[in-house]
């Protein structure tokens, strides 16, 4: 092999495509695959990185987690949180997207679009603090305006719901933008043809708009599901899981175990279980929507 051939070979190896691939694989290996592997192995150990303790426990962490009432309570709360938040995010998002798309608001449409989207780009911690004040039983706006004496964040029946309401308020703007983009991309011919056939607006919505918006709806549901199953910041700021364990969600429990108690082993076991749950739920969602698409 002469020098020219060697140079060409080297050039080929050093092609931009290969370099990018190597770097991306390197990135994934260091920041994704290794941490997942480390967490999985760590879930079988008592692991406290601060005291340099790493002791093999077998399945003890899993046994402890799966028999813990707080864990199951957190799983239940996470599901409640996700289902309610996703439902209202989709309903409000779609409803307001239709209002903005229908040109009822005419020239003010872009103003409202911006206003609705504003909470989405506001930091969650700041929003949580503002809502904490709104919910304050003594000086909060909600009780004072409505003349109530509800201890919103300390009552086990209202605490989780209060956090969900704040989350929906913060997040529905994201769904509006996605649904609006979906509505704008719908083929106008279908609507024109159905109008000629005498279809009402409701029939058009039910039989054309909704089915055609399915990919957008699915996208909103799946991204929301993944986000809400991992939510914990609002819980950390607003209730710290209280009263008692009433508002513990799984990610908050993992955070508490890992970064307050520094029990990385138990936190890893919880993370592995959460990973499996998210994978199953995402798979079911895809499967259901796929089957319906075929139908």
């Amino acid at each position: 092999m002469d020098i020219i051939q060697l140079r060409n070979k080297l050039k080929q190896i050093l092609s931009l495509k290969n370099i990018v691939l190597i770097l991306l694989f390197g990135y994934l290996a260091v920041f994704l695959i290794y941490p997942i592997y480390k967490a999985f192995i760590g879930s079988f150990h008592y692991w406290n990185p601060l005291s340099n303790t790493y002791k093999y426990l077998g399945l003890d962490n899993y046994k402890e987690v799966l028999t813990s009432q707080t864990f199951w309570k957190s799983i239940w709360n996470t599901l409640i949180f996700s289902v309610i938040a996703i439902f209202f995010r989709v309903i409000i998002g779609l409803g307001l997207a239709l209002v903005l798309y229908s040109k009822i608001l005419k020239s003010t449409s872009s103003f409202f679009r911006a206003v609705f989207y504003l909470p989405t780009i506001t930091p969650l911690v700041a929003v949580s603090f503002v809502w904490m004040w709104l919910y304050n039983p003594q000086i909060g706006l909600i009780n004072n305006v409505l003349g109530l004496t509800v201890n919103w964040l300390n009552n086990p029946s209202t605490a989780l719901l209060s956090v969900i309401v704040m989350t929906i308020w913060k997040d529905f703007g994201y769904a509006i933008i996605l649904f609006l983009a979906g509505l704008m991309s719908l083929p106008t011919e279908c609507f024109e043809a159905s109008s000629i056939d005498g279809a009402s607006k409701l029939q058009q919505f039910k039989n054309i708009t909704l089915p055609l918006l399915k990919p957008t709806t699915l996208f909103v549901i799946i991204t929301s599901l993944i986000t809400y199953l991992q939510s914990y910041i609002q819980i950390l700021v607003m209730t710290e899981g209280g009263p008692g364990t009433s508002t513990y969600v799984i990610s908050y429990l993992i955070f508490d175990e890992a970064f307050v108690k520094y029990n990385f082993g138990t936190a890893s076991a919880m993370s592995v279980i959460l990973f499996v749950i998210i994978a199953i739920l995402t798979f079911i969602t895809f499967k259901l929507s796929g089957e319906r698409s075929v139908e």
Partner: protein, 466 residues
């Protein structure tokens, strides 16, 4: 050539991306001068722990380190300024992190060998940071001659931090409400029964029997501190004989919790729904009395300057001197990062010596956090005794017990017990039992050992239980 250039750009972008987040190191020395003046003609300060400023630090070469705190930035900058005034070649950058972030970021950055050279310590996180701390280069005998409670902080014959002040609970009251209720300064309740009566007098309801002013408010985090104090008053220790197992589920905790429940349910001096934070409620003029630790005074002055408040000693079960009036905890001196570069550690060690020898610093900090200085020489200081909270404390400073730097689960779980009883309506016995189980689970691998037996009046426990 083009590909090589692309490669270089890509690699440098990745390197930038991966190394962009580094903290704890402070290398800004551009504004610092070299110090050549070894003999500064300044007096040596300190009684037993002495600080001699007449020397060079880091051989006079510019050096910059960081000091992390969760507290008052200006206050710490003031302290640092005094030191860097002596050594113009030294810069100590004060970095403030909010409390909750602090205890996540500090241990992890110390673990990652990129922590600050100096950092503030809170002993509830002792186990999370002690492995990364360098011992003070100060002999224990001098420390013991100058400060109270040094013994309980010695590990393998070395001190890694000690207490510069002693912090405990007192009752804070609103002076105008006190007067309005027809109470005088001579009517500070001595016993809990008297306290209940006073709280009743201070409670206000409107025509519809709606609570508009709580006589006493302990919502939020007050219970978790108060319950330990109430138990110690009756001679109930927080840890069992093995010094490791928590002793929370016992008759005394249940009895004391029942008393607190009765304050709201029977005496009707407050309500768990009357504000979710005792300090905020007191600051907003909606509660007449609260139980608070030393920092309460500073927070009230800072957040609610218009509130005119006074302080009196926490009542006791009877008028006799109890086993202990309450638990005390120390406000800790700064810690030194053992993994910091040697020259940074040299500055940190010298700064700690300056800190400990300097009475003004100890006094200023103690006043700021409403805690009694642990330095013997400040015990009768006029400024200290002019502070109402510290005056209250000074009268019986030896009768407070220190259980040791126990893990934070003891307090946070007690907080959950409070929430379970008052909001989730869990029966007291079950809530206390669940609480103890949680504490035990969290402390399963803890190396903590109680120092309750080092309390001056520990032997009285026998008489109490006989």
């Amino acid at each position: 050539m083009k590909n090589l250039l692309r490669l270089a750009i890509l690699i440098s972008s990745f390197i930038f991306l991966f190394t962009a987040c580094s903290y704890g190191k402070n290398s800004d020395i551009s504004n610092l001068k070299k110090d050549t003046n070894k003999n500064k003609n300044l007096p040596v300060i300190g009684e037993n722990v002495k600080f001699n400023p007449n020397k060079l630090i880091n051989n006079g070469k510019p050096i910059s380190i960081e000091l992390w705190t969760w507290g008052d930035k200006e206050l710490w900058q003031g302290i640092v300024k005094g030191y860097t005034y002596i050594y113009p070649n030294v810069n100590i950058k004060v970095v403030v992190q909010p409390w909750s972030d602090y205890w996540t970021k500090l241990p992890l950055s110390l673990r990652g060998n990129n922590g600050p050279a100096l950092f503030n310590v809170h002993n509830s996180n002792h186990e999370n940071i002690i492995n990364y701390m360098a011992p003070y280069n100060i002999d224990i005998a001098s420390l013991e001659k100058d400060f109270i409670g040094v013994k309980s902080h010695i590990e393998n014959g070395r001190a890694y931090y000690i207490d510069y002040a002693i912090n405990t609970g007192n009752i804070y009251y609103n002076k105008s409400m006190w007067k309005e209720a027809g109470l005088t300064d001579k009517e500070f309740p001595k016993t809990w029964d008297e306290f209940t009566q006073v709280a009743k007098k201070l409670t206000k309801r409107n025509a519809n029997d709606k609570l508009i002013r709580a006589g006493f408010n302990f919502n939020g985090t007050a219970y978790q501190a108060l319950i330990e104090g109430l138990n110690y008053q009756k001679g109930e220790l927080l840890f069992k004989e093995d010094k490791k197992t928590v002793n929370f589920n016992n008759k005394t905790t249940i009895e004391n919790t029942k008393y607190l429940v009765s304050l709201y349910n029977d005496a009707k001096v407050g309500s768990p729904d009357f504000g979710d934070d005792y300090l905020q409620s007191f600051g907003n003029g909606q509660s007449a009395m609260i139980y608070g630790w030393g920092s309460t005074e500073g927070e009230l002055k800072r957040l609610y300057p218009e509130i005119d408040f006074g302080v009196f000693e926490t009542p006791t079960p009877t008028k006799d001197i109890p086993f202990a009036y309450d638990r005390y905890n120390g406000e800790s001196t700064p810690g030194i990062n053992k993994n910091a570069p040697k020259e940074e550690q040299e500055v940190a060690q010298d700064f700690v010596r300056y800190f400990l020898a300097n009475n003004e610093i100890i006094k200023t900090l103690s006043l700021k956090v409403g805690s009694f200085p642990a330095k013997y020489s400040l015990g009768k200081d006029k400024d200290i005794l002019a502070d109402p909270a510290l005056l209250a404390l000074s009268k019986r400073v030896e009768n407070y017990i220190f259980p040791g730097p126990f893990p934070s689960t003891i307090e946070t779980t007690s907080g959950k017990v409070f929430q379970n009883i008052f909001y989730n309506k869990v029966p007291i016995e079950k809530a206390v039992d669940d609480g103890e189980n949680q504490m035990k689970k969290d402390m399963k691998y803890s190396t903590f050992k109680s120092v309750e037996d080092k309390y001056k009046f520990y032997s009285k426990l026998k008489d109490l239980h006989d």
